[in-house]
């Protein structure tokens, strides 16, 4: 066991997989010699050399297209898109190429690659560098979509993503990079498609992802202490595949569900999950399904504004307690 930052966990996760398999290669902007703009790839160039860790031009379409062509023909590329907002400039690969090739070719084409990207708000970068874009990916059939909240999950889910035979979008939360957590020694390999119950509870289920996970946990403690409400907190971790068993199992027990989403409201992952619950677990429910999201609005830059717009502990506590007490 060692304490590691989420940032260093990314490095360790990539290194673990590159050591294991010489077909794992890594490309992106400023990721090699400079170690990445978030310093989340420091040392990989030195360890694995210029053929396996390659700096690219500012050409996101070339980055993802090249990753795909390499994946189709025998490599297991990891591609970095520096900020997840930039997925918009290479969205054709995310939406039309990676996820459709296997289906269209009746199973001939494989596409085992990972797109790592810095997602989410909290760095005062403003509207074009702070978005939570997990839903841009979740809504596309054929992708897998993962968003870890802890250093140990970073390593384990990254390993699982690299080993997965399908294209995986791996969303690292920028505001989690400096956070720390205990990480077991040795190889770590987790499983995609598995949510984690981080805090068992009986009164309500709170679903959260990435940066919202620590906030949901803190809110649950406060709800317990101040309102006597015992919440079960689930870290969804993997949007696709989605662990509906764990989620529906929890709702069957608590009879109430809340989502805490960093994304702007419309068509968020919470909407999807709530629509599943409202269909399949309707008769388990004791009351409304409530989503706590960032308002459906671009993100502001100033610190006070950015802090105020995201879901936070107090907003979660208030929404959950008011809903359950009404």
């Amino acid at each position: 066991m060692a304490e590691l930052t989420y940032r260093d966990a990314v490095i360790r996760g990539i290194a673990q997989e590159m050591e294991r398999d010489p077909d794992v290669v890594f490309l992106g902007e400023d990721i090699a010699k400079a170690g990445g703009v978030f310093k989340a790839t420091v040392g990989l160039y030195e360890q694995f050399g210029p053929l396996r860790v390659r700096d690219t031009p500012i050409s996101e379409q070339a980055i993802l297209g090249a990753a795909m062509g390499a994946a189709m023909t025998g490599l297991k590329p990891i591609a970095e898109i520096m900020f997840s907002d930039f997925i918009a400039v290479c969205f054709d690969y995310i939406a039309n190429e990676f996820p459709k090739s296997r289906y269209m070719t009746n199973g001939q084409t494989k596409c085992p690659l990972v797109v790592r990207t810095g997602n989410g708000a909290g760095s005062r970068f403003g509207a074009q560098h702070s978005q939570s874009v997990e839903n841009w990916c979740m809504m596309i059939p054929g992708l897998k979509v993962v968003a870890p909240s802890s250093p140990a999950d970073v390593i384990g889910l990254l390993a699982a993503s690299v080993r997965d035979p399908d294209p995986v979008i791996f969303l690292e939360h920028k505001s989690l990079y400096p956070t720390k957590g205990e990480v077991p020694d040795g190889e770590i390999v987790d499983k995609l498609g598995t949510a984690k119950i981080l805090r068992p509870g009986k009164d309500a289920t709170i679903l959260a992802l990435a940066l919202m996970v620590p906030r949901a946990l803190a809110a649950a403690e406060k709800l317990a202490a101040e309102h006597g409400i015992d919440c079960e907190v689930i870290d969804v971790r993997s949007l696709v595949p989605l662990d509906t068993q764990t989620i529906l199992g929890s709702v069957a027990k608590t009879h109430r569900a809340f989502s805490v989403e960093e994304n702007p409201r419309l068509c968020g992952w919470g909407a999807e999950i709530m629509s599943i619950i409202a269909d399949e677990a309707f008769y388990d429910l004791d009351g409304p399904l409530v989503r706590i999201t960032t308002p459906h609005c671009p993100l502001p830059s100033a610190d006070v504004l950015e802090d105020a717009i995201l879901p936070n502990v107090d907003r979660i506590v208030e929404r959950v307690s008011k809903t359950l007490n009404s």
Binding site: E60, A62, A70, M72, M104, P141, P165
Partner: protein, 340 residues
């Protein structure tokens, strides 16, 4: 077309030789016959969906494909029947796919615009303009990284040179010195708009080569020999670690952009002028010039016709795909489960 390099060599035993020439001819005829049949089948409402024919452009597909080694990889567009057939994919598989039959290359799941046959090195047909140029770079990167000697060849049209992905791919390939060949089939039109109306330079590909430190290459795309020679040069260079090439082939499509297009936008006489330079006509004469007997030529043609007829009958008789393939092969496990 003043700047087109025309082959000067007319010696009997020249660099190309008889075997290759016959192969070049046969390949062009296969494309011609299969495409014409696809059109007929469309008129009979047996080909549904859209389809984009290469009638008139056969020499490009044949020249590049015949120059390939097994293991070399083709990346095509929605106008990909020609390149798929040129790699030896059976006509039946292609027509079956166009007709949405279970015997199609992808059992009807891909359709005309997405022909793929990895076993023949056809690594897909892509219907989003420009998308496959970076993808071909990736395949070439794999070859470079693994020390494998195959080349990746990426076909696209004149109109494609104006989309961003073209630019990113060319720069990327040049900087990484990748064994990838970019083949622009300049047929002078994007869908219905003359390429000159929307492009800042006369040669949409070649006039951009210098922007990537590449040689300016424009060839006669209706002369399979010219194409073959240029292809060989580019493949050799790529295999030797010399990096990418960008080759602009001047050619013309005899039919409309897609099955829905009567191509009324063409100036009068343009099609006729190009038909005089029909690649198959040119090549028939070439074969004669090299002393190949008429009978041998006719035998090739009739052999191809028989194959196409046979394929057509098989496709007509083939079942439609069963509905249980509707949601298969989304993921590598064969299924489509997005939840547990």
């Amino acid at each position: 077309m003043n700047d087109v390099a025309r082959p000067a060599n007319t010696a009997l035993n020249d660099d190309i030789g008889e075997d290759v020439r016959l192969k070049l001819f046969e390949t062009q005829v296969v494309i011609r016959e299969a495409e014409q049949r696809a059109y007929d089948l469309f008129l009979q409402n047996l080909v549904k969906g859209t389809s984009h024919l290469s009638l008139g452009q056969e020499a490009v597909a044949a020249g590049f494909a015949v120059a390939m080694k097994p293991g070399d990889l083709s990346f095509c567009t929605y106008r990909g029947h020609a390149h798929t057939l040129a790699r030896g994919v059976p006509v039946e598989k292609v027509l079956g796919e166009l007709m949405g039959r279970d015997n199609g290359l992808m059992r009807g799941k891909g359709g005309s615009m997405h022909l793929t046959s990895e076993e023949h090195g056809v690594m897909g047909s892509y219907a989003i303009i420009g998308a496959h140029l970076p993808i071909a770079c990736g395949a070439a990167w794999r070859a470079q990284y693994k020390g494998q000697k195959d080349v990746s060849v990426c076909f696209f049209g004149d109109g494609t040179t104006n989309i961003g992905a073209f630019h990113e791919a060319l720069n990327f390939a040049a900087v990484w010195k990748l064994p990838v060949i970019f083949v622009c089939e300049n047929n002078f039109y994007m869908e219905y708009t003359p390429i000159g109306d929307v492009t800042a330079v006369p040669h949409p590909a070649a006039d951009r080569a210098s922007a990537y430190g590449l040689e300016r290459i424009v060839i006669d795309g209706n002369d399979a020999d010219a194409v073959y020679r240029e292809a060989m040069k580019a493949y050799d260079k790529a295999r030797a670690g010399g990096g990418p090439s960008l080759i602009e082939c001047l050619t013309y499509r005899h039919s409309g952009h897609s099955r829905a297009d009567p191509a009324k936008y063409r100036p009068e006489g343009e099609l006729e002028r190009w038909k005089e330079r029909d690649p198959i006509k040119i090549y028939r004469e070439r074969l004669k010039q090299f002393g190949i007997a008429d009978a041998q030529i006719e035998k090739i043609v009739s052999g191809v016709k028989a194959t196409v007829d046979d394929a057509t009958e098989k496709c007509k008789a083939a079942p439609i795909p069963p509905l249980d393939i509707l949601t298969t092969d989304v993921y590598a496990d064969g299924g489509w489960a997005w939840r547990n």
